[in-house]
């Protein structure tokens, strides 16, 4: 499944790079790309466990950018 999110409070480019790398290593995530300038996250992940994967994605986002939300 492909989904696009907006990451609020993403104002550090280095964090965005680190987050991108981190998200790509999550099991089930086929591709995670961040466009820092548009504050967008393009996520592609397995359909089967999408909800579970999203939980881990949200945790990683919160870790890299405290207080950020995905929309």
């Amino acid at each position: 499944m492909k989904k696009t999110f907006t990451i609020s409070e993403l104002d550090c480019a280095a964090c965005a790079n680190a987050l991108e790398t981190k998200l790509s290593t999550i099991t089930g995530v086929t591709s995670a790309k961040i466009n820092f300038f548009l504050k967008k996250l393009y996520l592609e992940a397995d359909d089967a466990e999408f909800d579970f994967i999203m939980k881990r994605v949200r945790r990683a986002v919160d870790h890299a950018v405290p207080g950020a939300t995905l929309k």
Binding site: D11, C12, A13, A14, C15, N17, K33, N35, F36, F37, L38, K40, Y42, D62, H63, A64, P66, G67
Partner: protein, 612 residues
């Protein structure tokens, strides 16, 4: 426009008053109040990062640096650094907002609504709810929300947001319209042919948004550099304190002050933001000129163009065939043309189409039968009791039909009736008006070699090449031969890249084989957009030289930013270890440099002249 937060102004007032109050307890209170006022959010953010095990964050480094300064009694320094950092961040955010706005304005081709005809009424709906086959109404001044065919109405369209071309395009009933264009003069009723997500405008936006994902070598370098830079500088800061004080028993506070500068400049932000922004801006600026670049890496390759290989038909020539002369043996010219048009009535070949288009007389196909398509030769058919052959010289040779000698440039279609020669029709393709300028502009842009590959006869291709000033011409090629030629040229090339320009039809293998494949005249053609690395939205070959210049400019700006940021930081590191800097200089090297680099990066968007 966001305003400078009041707390920063207030903190600055506290700070300045403290500087003038000699009474220590009062000034100390003012310093601490100023510090808390301006820095609490940084400290809070730093705390949250630490709680998540995330060190080396910018907030953390600022906190450590200023708390360090407070501990060694450098109160004014600590406050000044925090203040400058916040003011710098504020200006950096402004610059970033400005960039985001420019990018957003550039990508503002997304239609908000579509006027859908439903049960005799017109309702405004979101474009993504409209289905194929629905009828929409586009009024003057509105943006066409979806691709479609005009059912009713004539108008002029402003395509500049898509193609960079300022001349309006005319559209009439039956014509195709592309989403993203602005309807200028008349009301159009349009039958939708593509859903929103498949429409041109959605494709372009998706392409531009994702283009930044294909990273350039400079971006990859920055990412790797950023990963090691911060830890190394922080480690150096620790060593800068530890070695002199522990080994040489020197003043702790003196070396700590120097080390704090290290912490302040240890964030690679200027580079990490500005370099990708430069490329993103370059891609955005290109798309504004009707040049869609599928990845930043292609800008890098394009900037190093050494050889440009052109496909002929549809790229340098119009790709539209015209009947240029008719040479009958006995029949009147119009009758020969009518006969050819009748026999070719059901053929889809572009040449057959041009013959039919040119014929003005009525056509009667009642007795037309036994049509056999002879691939690569032409066709045979029976008509009004006669056996006809229509096709090229090879077809006539095959049936041993004697031809009169006649030299023509262009494609020649012969006709024969019951084995007897009737005459021939000459058809040719016109060279685009802008083609010669396009080739000249490439030479001016420093392209060493231009090559023409054509499936046409040698004399036609040679003439085209000569007219346009192209250095090497290879003719009578099949699609596979074109790939071979491109591979040979690639092998001969020393450095630099090979760019292939085609019309995106039938040349997908060549587009893929070249370092950079450019499809042109792709206005609304999906196949071309798929196959190419760079897509020229209109069919003006001059856009290629513009794309190369734009790519070079983007790369130059990226290089300026890298050199500028690294030099300033290195300078601060060297001066700081020698004790020649103040902390505020380090703050400038951090946020000030970021801001300048961002403003420099955004030059890629605007300043490019749109006419090329």
């Amino acid at each position: 426009m966001r305003r400078l937060p009041r707390r920063i102004i207030l903190s600055a007032i506290f700070f300045i008053s403290a500087l003038f109050i000699p009474l220590f307890p009062v000034s100390l209170t003012l310093y601490l109040a100023a510090y808390a006022l301006v820095g609490w959010d940084i400290l809070w953010k730093a705390f949250r990062y630490i709680a998540r095990g995330n060190l080396f964050d910018e907030n953390f480094l600022m906190s450590v640096a200023t708390i360090g300064a407070l501990l060694i009694g450098e109160y004014p320094e600590a406050v000044a650094v925090m203040l400058l950092y916040q003011i710098g961040e504020y200006f950096q955010d402004l610059a970033m907002d400005k960039s985001r706005e420019s990018i957003a304005a550039l990508m503002d081709i997304r239609p908000d609504s579509a006027n859908l005809e439903r049960d005799g009424l017109v309702v405004s709906v979101s474009p993504d709810t409209v289905s194929v086959g629905d009828v929409i109404v586009v009024k003057p001044g509105e943006r066409i929300p979806l691709d479609g065919v005009v059912l009713e109405g004539n108008s002029m369209l402003d395509t500049s947001a898509l193609t960079g071309e300022s001349l309006p395009r005319e559209v009439v009933t039956g014509g195709e319209v592309i989403s993203g264009c602005i309807n200028i003069t008349g009301v159009l009723r349009v039958s939708v042919t593509k859903t929103y997500e498949n429409s041109t405008v959605a494709k372009i936006l998706e392409l531009v948004e994702h283009a930044a994902e294909n990273k350039t070598r400079s971006e990859a370098f920055i990412t790797r550099f950023a990963r090691v830079y911060t830890p190394i500088v922080c480690a150096a800061a620790v060593l800068l304190v530890a070695i002199p004080t522990l080994v040489f028993a020197q003043s702790f506070s003196m070396w700590l002050e120097r080390a704090l500068s290290f912490l302040v400049v240890s964030c690679p932000c200027a580079l990490v933001i500005s370099v990708p922004l430069t490329f993103f801006g370059g891609i955005g600026g290109a798309s504004r000129n009707g040049i869609l670049v599928k990845g930043s890496n292609y800008l890098e390759l394009l900037a190093k163009t050494e050889t440009v290989v052109f496909d002929k038909t549809g790229t340098l020539t119009e790709g539209i065939f015209h009947v240029t002369s008719i040479h009958p043996q006995t029949l009147p010219s119009e009758e020969l043309l009518r006969l050819a048009a009748t026999l070719e009535q059901y053929s889809t070949h572009p040449i057959a189409q041009s013959i039919r288009l040119h014929n003005q007389l009525p056509v009667n196909t009642d007795t037309l039968s036994h049509i056999t398509d002879l691939q690569g030769y032409g066709l045979s058919a029976q008509y009004q009791g006669h056996q006809y052959l229509v096709g090229n010289t090879a077809l006539m040779d095959k049936y041993n039909i004697e031809l009169p000698y006649c030299h023509h440039l262009g494609v020649v279609v012969h006709l024969a009736e019951d084995g007897k020669y009737l005459g021939h029709i000459e058809i040719s393709d016109e060279i685009k008006k802008s083609a010669a300028q396009a080739v000249a502009a490439l030479a001016k842009a420093g392209v060493h070699k231009t090559v023409l590959l054509s499936g046409d006869r040698k004399d036609i291709a040679d003439k085209t090449g000569k007219t346009l000033g192209i250095q090497e011409v290879y003719a009578e090629l099949l699609p596979a031969d074109k790939v071979e030629h491109v591979e040979r040229i690639l092998a001969e090339q020393k450095q630099g890249t090979l760019v292939f320009v085609g019309d995106g039809i039938n040349d997908a293998p060549v587009l893929a084989r070249a370092d950079v494949g450019v499809a042109m005249g792709a206005f609304g053609s999906d196949a071309a957009v798929e196959a190419a690395d760079i897509v020229l939205m209109d069919d003006d070959p001059r856009k290629l030289a513009l794309a190369i210049r734009l790519a070079r400019k983007t790369l130059a700006i990226a290089r300026q930013n890298i050199v500028f940021a690294l030099t300033v930081k290195a300078l601060v590191l060297v001066l700081a270890s020698a004790g020649l800097t103040e902390l505020w200089m380090a703050v400038f090297a951090d946020v000030g440099v970021s801001m300048i680099a961002i403003l420099n990066a955004i030059r890629t968007l605007g300043s490019f002249n749109r006419k090329g």
